[in-house]
Symmetry: C2
Subunit: 242 residues, 2 copies
């Protein structure tokens, strides 16, 4: 059953990991069942124990397996949403949740960072930032009002993109900044007049409000965004770990 190839460019531990993942997915290993011990897998795959281990530990982090020292490794029970805090774009969501995405650009300019923006982006108050205000539609209905701020110095040619098609992240990546992580503060607020009008809802209606800071590989803040989401058309799922 050892089907690992030595020279296809894929690391052995990754092949082990994916093989195990498949066996769990297709039911060869059932939830609650014990995985063969590391030694057995070592023999089966013909790799060293540390290599098997590295594959297993990956799945452990994903919550697909759990281990008990001195006892064994077990396949976890599957539950509804697993791993739902991945960073995705609006268009990604549209594809996976199967709705038609449209973006309308309301504003696209260079302005000066006010306090909240500057603090979140870790720049000085008054430094120039791109300010991109968009309205996002799912299946033609307005869902989210988006206010994004990106430090000017990161990507000076940002003004020339068409943000109905290209997302700010793609623009950032073209400037050499890989988006890695985002921190969001979430609350429920009431719609004010302007926002209500744009989102085609009533004043006082509940909105899911997010303040999001996006950072790159090295932890540098790349983007700060304020998102006003219609409460009746938007929900989000997160996973917490102890």
């Amino acid at each position: 059953m050892a089907v690992l190839s030595k020279d296809n460019g894929v690391a052995l531990y990754a092949q082990v990991r994916e093989t195990l993942r498949n066996r769990i997915a297709n039911g060869s290993y059932q939830p609650g069942e014990r995985l063969p011990p590391e030694e057995a897998l070592t023999a089966e795959f013909g790799v060293s124990r540390m290599t098997v281990r590295q594959g297993i530990l990956d799945l452990l982090d994903e919550g697909l397996l759990y281990r008990k020292r001195g006892i064994g490794t077990f396949i976890a029970q599957r539950h509804v949403h697993r791993d739902h805090n991945r960073l995705t774009t609006f268009f990604d969501s549209a594809a996976s949740e199967n709705f038609e995405a449209k973006i309308e650009v309301l504003k696209q300019e260079v302005s000066l960072a006010r306090h909240l923006v500057a603090r979140s982006l870790n720049i000085l108050e008054g430094e120039p930032v791109f300010h991109i205000k968009t309205l996002r539609f799912a299946d033609g209905l307005p869902i989210t009002l988006h206010d994004e701020f990106i430090p000017y110095k990161l990507c000076p040619d940002m003004l020339h993109y068409d943000f109905t098609q290209v997302l700010s992240w793609e623009a950032l990546e073209r400037c050499g900044f890989r988006v890695k992580q985002a921190v969001q503060k979430i609350e429920a607020i009431a719609a004010d007049e302007k926002t209500a009008k744009l989102l085609e809802t009533e004043i006082g209606d509940p909105l899911l409000y997010k303040e999001r800071t996006v950072v790159g590989e090295d932890g540098t803040p790349l983007e700060f965004a304020l998102c006003y989401n219609r409460g009746d058309r938007y929900s989000l799922t997160t996973t917490l770990t102890r």
Copy 2:
């Protein structure tokens, strides 16, 4: 500078990890700076490279470091909230955010699981569940209305706890179920009459609504909770990774 002790029960890689963490925290290593290469740390700490590596990789997962193959390991820029999706109890939050916590128990009974509850807990509709309804106060002001459901079979003596003092998780742990992960769906809704009255707010005011499923080590659902949080007094922060 090698200050690792071989026999204090703490794993060497953990000691390496914490030493590095301290150096980052106290500024010995500055953000953006390059960490000494693995070989150097190997020499300094007097442990093998794999051991140093294990410590470094932990910090990598936390986002405190980042690496570039062929180049080196670097200290990440610090940004506002890091690692804010840890699972904490109400009392934990009270301690860390420095408010006075109080819990009022409105209901504590055994009932039969209705559809949503059964599906979330992966049990059959009509199976007995504990239903614990509580109102939570911060500094004397109501913040959250909590509706928790726990499968009866998991912990039959759950009824006898005093839920103003003991949290359901602690009760679960005494029954041998360690809480490991939670998945939350979050939306913004308007307060209905009953909820508004309990939270001392107005009908229609925005609430942050959460549906939370808590699972144990093996992925078994342990608890399902509906949480109605006052929008003006509650916010939450999550981290997403790509």
